[in-house]
Subunit: 300 residues, 2 copies
């Protein structure tokens, strides 16, 4: 997905929010916005938003002097999600279709997204979703929810590449991966995190904190953007990306960079921004589980 | 109210939206954003947002070559509101407290605001409000709704200065002015509109199209900003502003520029932006009818 002009005001909003998270004072916040203003006329509209996002979050780091502004938020998201873990496992245990619930929960975890909306309501929003009725897929949302196809492809796969998104959300991914492993302990699952801090995206230590190392092999993609930008990825990751029997991609950022990829990818996310929703042909708030680019609107 | 850093992303959003309303192509829209980026580091944070808004909407006019991008939208808002007029009058007629309903309707009309949100849902939102139950003031909103004080001050006033906000909304103002006149035909009411196009703010011809000239004297303030910025106003208007027995101010823009005014002003608006809501100490969506600056949070 390319960058739209609507992304530009949003870049300013994100830069301001990240500066505040980094603890910058008003003067420094303003400096961040001024520096962004200086460079934004050079942003390419043919790049994906996470490619530009990368430039912005690096700018914030440079000016605020904080290499990982979201470090504390990430650790706390992980802790909060780990506290939910026993409850999530109980939901799976008492379900008639544990895999279906695990997939739905993995997408629910995608609410923990600090690029799109800020922190305060995450706990509250999660709570709403975790009430059983919150897990149902509304009728008008069903066309974006290709669960049967996902299940079929997954059943046949021996190698799984799972692209992580946010910290905290990782616990929800773990629930799904545990379910996959329960069905077939021989599946080889690689869990790919970003290589350097970008917003609240999960790093290796977040994946470990959330216990992914017990169920999958954690790898870094090479990307330090809020989306797995292939041109930034390591040759090893690219081989896996091309060769895996199934690629499970979490979050809007990964969707933004891979939506037009020729290799089929299953995208699991909540549509949280109007531009992404328009690109995906869905509405804000929709629960997405779709394969590849088949449902995309054409880009002008 | 001063300009906050949160206003800067919003200025970009408004500039983009206004360029689209002006019918600009992608290239021109981008040029508007680039030009805005060039000047935004010079924006004073001690000015009010409408003072900066004025610069932005002038920039859009200059680059798109459209002197009044919202002209068509304004005419249509007026027509839409005029169609509602008989229904509004019936609501007043069958009410036990016509003045209370008229005041509530005047604030409901403030939903017609193209600076804050775009057009599509205005009809739908209005429809919701116009269902009788939509006119009730929720319990937690009541502290922002000083109707008794407003009624008392109005009853004693011989001269009324009414500051208009948006086109379309004018019809709702007319309903209130007619009610005021019904109670006291000798009140002298001046209805002040902006002097030149800015967003969808009402001009003299909008006031006439909506029939204000039948119930009040239409004057121009001298301001061509999306708020009655006193430093832009004519000496005649300023005399009226200081001398009127009551000033009724509609909309967020007028609140933003007059919230700290020493002369008491009754502000009637819906809180539609997080920065204004925070300044007023209320929540987004709250219905405001308050006098002067007494309830404001301190500005840092």
């Amino acid at each position: 997905m390319r960058t739209y002009l609507d992304c530009i005001p949003c870049f300013f909003r994100q830069a301001l929010e990240a500066s505040r998270v980094a603890g910058a004072g008003i003067q420094t916040q303003r400096r961040v916005l001024n520096e962004l203003a200086k460079i934004c006329s050079g942003f390419s509209l043919t790049s994906s938003p996470p490619e530009t996002g990368r430039i912005i979050y690096r700018l914030v780091s440079r000016i605020t002097g904080k290499k990982d502004p979201y470090a504390k938020i990430k650790t706390e998201s992980n802790k909060m999600a780990l506290k939910l873990y026993p409850r999530l496992k109980r939901m799976i245990a008492r379900s008639a279709d544990p895999m279906a619930v695990a997939v739905r929960l993995a997408i629910a975890g995608n609410i923990i997204d600090y690029g799109v909306k800020n922190s305060l309501n995450v706990g509250h929003e999660l709570e709403k979703i975790l009430k059983e009725e919150g897990l149902r897929i509304p009728e008008e949302n069903k066309k974006f929810y290709q669960y049967a196809k996902f299940k079929r492809t997954l059943a046949k796969a021996r190698t799984v590449l799972y692209l992580a998104d946010n910290s905290g959300e990782v616990v929800f991914d773990r629930i799904l991966i545990e379910e996959i492993k329960k069905k077939d302990p021989w599946k080889h699952i690689f869990y790919a995190v970003k290589s350097a801090p970008t917003i609240n995206d999960a790093l290796k230590k977040d994946a470990k904190q959330c216990g992914i190392d017990k169920v999958a092999e954690i790898i870094t993609s090479g990307a330090d953007a809020p989306g797995t930008v292939l041109s930034l990825c390591t040759p090893r990751f690219l081989r896996m990306f091309r060769g895996a029997d199934i690629v499970i991609s979490k979050g809007q950022g990964n969707f933004e960079v891979l939506s037009l990829s020729r290799r089929p990818v299953f995208f699991l996310f909540m549509a949280k921004c109007p531009v992404v929703a328009s690109h995906a042909g869905c509405r804000i708030g929709d629960i997405i589980l779709r394969c590849g680019g088949e449902y995309l609107t054409r880009e002008g």
